[in-house]
Every structure is written in C-alpha cells, then in structure tokens.
Symmetry: D2
Subunit: 105 residues, 4 copies
Amino acid sequence: MTTTTKDSPCVHGEHTLCMPESSRKAARRRLAIAHGHLESIQRMLENPDVYCVDVLKQLKAVQGALAGTGEVVLRGHLEAHVATAESRGDTSEIVNELMHALKYT
Amino acid sequence: MTTTTKDSPCVHGEHTLCMPESSRKAARRRLAIAHGHLESIQRMLENPDVYCVDVLKQLKAVQGALAGTGEVVLRGHLEAHVATAESRGDTSEIVNELMHALKYT
Amino acid sequence: MTTTTKDSPCVHGEHTLCMPESSRKAARRRLAIAHGHLESIQRMLENPDVYCVDVLKQLKAVQGALAGTGEVVLRGHLEAHVATAESRGDTSEIVNELMHALKYT
Amino acid sequence: MTTTTKDSPCVHGEHTLCMPESSRKAARRRLAIAHGHLESIQRMLENPDVYCVDVLKQLKAVQGALAGTGEVVLRGHLEAHVATAESRGDTSEIVNELMHALKYT
C-alpha cells in the first residue's frame, strides 16, 4: 500500500485519479503475457533461418495483446474518471487528455 | 553462421526464403527498444498511484515501435521474396500468405 | 427543430442523450468532404488505366477523413454523455456501449 | 476499352502496370456499397435526435468496407506488379512506393 502524495502521478489538483486496482491488476497480467510473447519473437530473430511472414504474424499478435491491455485501462478510466468528470468540474481537461491519448491510435 | 536444413523455417519446397540479414538485424534492434519500453510500462503499473492516461500513451508508443519493426520486416520480404515470386513460380502462395499476415492489422 | 419522442434514437429510459448540435454539424461537414473524396475514387476506378497504388493512397485518405469524423463525434459524446454518466446513474451501460463501439477500430 | 497512352496513370517508363481488370471490378463493387453506406450516415446526421454511438458504429463499418476495398486492390497489385518487379528490374521503386502507400495505415 502506498500513501498518495501531491507528487503522485494520479493527483490532479485536489483530486486523486489513480487507476482502479482491478484495472491495474488486469493490465499487469496482460502485459506479462505480451512481454513473454515479445521475447519469443526476439528468440525467433536470433535464427538466421527465420522466415519474414512468421515474424510479421507474431508481431501482430503482440500488438493485439497490447491493444487488449489498452482496452482494460481505457475501460477503467472511463468508469472511474471520465464518468465522474462533471461532478469534479474537469470535463474538458479529462476529455482533451483522453482524445489526445487515443489520437496515438 | 547456420547451415539451412530442410526443416529450417525459411525453406519453401526447393527454395530458401530466409529473412535478409539487414532486415533481421534492424528488426532485432527495434524489438530490443520496444522490449525495454514495455518493461518500463510494467514498472509503471507496479505503482498503485499510476494514472491511466499515462499508461495508455506508453502502450501506444510501444505499439508504434512494433509497427516500425513490422515495416522493416515487410520491406525486406517484399524486396527479397515477393518481387522474385514470378521467377520462382510461387506468386499466389506468397501473396496469399502475405495478405493473411497483413490481415492481422 | 424536431420534438424528441420516446422513439427517438437518443432517448435512453428517462434521459435524452442526443448528439450535441456542434458535433452534429461538424460531423456533417467532414462527412460531406469524405463523400466527395470517395466519389473521386469511384471515378478513378472507371478508368482501365488506373494505377493500384494511386487508389490505395486515396482510400487511406478517405479512411483518415472518416476517422476525423469519428473523433468529432467521440469528443462530443465523451463531453455530453460519458462525463455526466455518474449523475444519471448509467455509467456501466454508457461505458460498455462505448467500449463496444470503439472495439470496431 | 481505352488505348493506354504514355500519359496514362499506369505507364511506368516502358512498362504498363494497369490495375488488373478483376481487381478493378471488385473494387468498384465494394466502393459502391461503401458509398451507399456513407450516404445512410449522412441521413442519420440530418436528424437532431441522432445518437452518437450509433454514428460511431456506422462510421467504423464504412471504414471496414474501405479497408476491404484496399485489400482487393493490394492483392491485385502484389500479384500483377510486385511479384513481377524483379523481371522488370524496378523492385526498389515498386517496394518504396508500396511501403509509402501502406504507411497511410
């Protein structure tokens, strides 16, 4: 357990918007899988006889795993922080920030 | 140096279609960067005070690095294996396989 | 001006969640551009001398215009309907629905 | 039937690389469907009672139809023009051009 201080990444003015614990745990699990998968591609690439299309497919599978991790995080954020924005009064800040993050798609 | 055997992943009938060495090296470099980046997100997620949008942005950046790795592999495949398909006589097999791999986008 | 009836697409139980007027107008403008662009590709394809890569580029440009239209609609939805979900008490319905729609990416 | 002149979009130096007729016809069919679908979204947006998520879903469906059109064109290009590049001697030009077009993804 960590005590959130004013420097914590999830402190926004007087509000604390830390990632919901369930999202954090689910994201960690998924990312561990993606991490193992990525390392398997690194091992594939150590073999001079590797075939391009095999690597392309595995790269796309890891991208899918990362997208799945992103969805877990996004859902938690929408539920915990976006849906409550009006009551905090920071709707435009929260929406601008999220649109910018999604822009990276 | 490895001697390609009939079981090598890049042996296709009588043809050997191993990933070009330059593509393999470039892909390994990029994947090492993506690997380090992914591990930094795993560390972020160990902190209960992590903020969702920070994680979303980092996930997208790693997806971008993986897409960049895919482009290196795809270019090498197009140049070395697709552009030479007619002379080998395996155009439809090579194109079907590539369309399927790209389908994962 | 239209009088919203209980059958209107934007009526959700006792709540009315119509697209904000500014989003609707901006989306219509962008879609008109995408529409014109798509028709220009249709004309390109009437020419037997059309070159594949020219068409690929124009298709991607129209996809970009549609993505831009989606962003306008998404922003309006986040601000007007998601950010107010907690006060209406329909957070999980609104988030589930949006995650499903984004899933189409 | 059109007689390809030196100004035709598919003339590349001494080579003619017009879109295969089957790809052109299939792309035209798919684009006509996408066109009709896009117009149905435009009608949706004329209704002030339109609901954001309904529009988001329809936009994604049209993007899917455009991606499907792109796949038809890409396949035809890979088979007719990329797979024959080595025999023409223009591999790097053809691959550079295609990587650039795919970059728009």
